[in-house]
Amino acid sequence: MSRRAGPVAVLIMIAAAALVGCGGNHEPAAHTSPGAFSYSPASDRVFRCLIDKGWDVQITWDGGITAGSDTIPNAQYSSYKSDSDACWSAVDDRILAMTPAEISRAYAEEVKTRDCLIGLGYAVDEPPSAQTYADGFFGERWTAYGASSIVSRPLRDEEWERVGKTCVQPSWSFGAAEDPVEGSTP
């Protein structure tokens, strides 16, 4: 695969991604919006960015944007990483600009995700207070997944997919919106 696909190739890739679900892992779900590539709106935004730049990348159901030397030669890795970093920085910068109101909503979603994981039989530590969560949001951020027994043992693919689709991580939506969400002002 060449470093830069031509415009026609890019269109073909986008069409193929839409048809086959970008690597065959994507299954539309009720809570994913029309045209979504994965369960992660943030990853979808980056995926579009990289496709627009001509890179041959794929996206998995859980928003993993995969690349490798089978399609991107080693000599082009630095160039790919530079573009990837640029695409992700838009998402990450938006996360770093999240308002207290957005963080408060994120906390509520994490608590729901914790309940969801417990419902599937996983042990999850008690959540911190809303204030403690907000205080650590830009550093050691608390997540229901990170506080669960899942991190201590790798899950098999089938189990990871079942859990990930049932208890979607709130953070998968962080940074997906280009502008502050309406009503997000403190």
């Binding site: 080693n74 920085s89 830009f138 951020r141």
Partner: protein, 100 residues
């Protein structure tokens, strides 16, 4: 980092873990594992997007994911595997290993 990794992929070495701070930005964690019969595996929780990078014999694979908990099966191939996790944000619970 990548050039250093590339240069070291042919070296048989003992397991080495380098974690440059657990609560600071731009944390990167690197590990070497020999996964003779299993998938190489990384996982981590990150406050911003995170990269899981695996390298075997000069070939690489990577996956980028949005903030949160994520994992990646890198290779199902006998031999030494270099694995790296990095993020512009804070990474916690970095894990490297070979999974069944």
């Amino acid at each position: 980092m990548k050039k250093k990794l590339a240069a070291m992929t042919g070296v048989v070495a003992v397991v080495a873990v380098v974690v440059m701070g657990t609560a600071s930005p731009a944390l990167a964690a690197v590990d070497y594992r020999d996964c003779p019969n299993n998938w190489s595996y990384t996982s981590a929780t990150a406050s911003t997007s995170v990269t899981h990078y695996h390298e075997v014999g000069g070939f690489w694979r990577s996956v980028n994911r949005s903030a949160g908990y994520s994992n990646f099966k890198g290779w199902y191939k006998p031999g030494p595997v270099w694995m790296e996790i990095n993020s512009s944000g804070t990474v916690s619970s970095p894990y490297f290993g070979c999974s069944a």
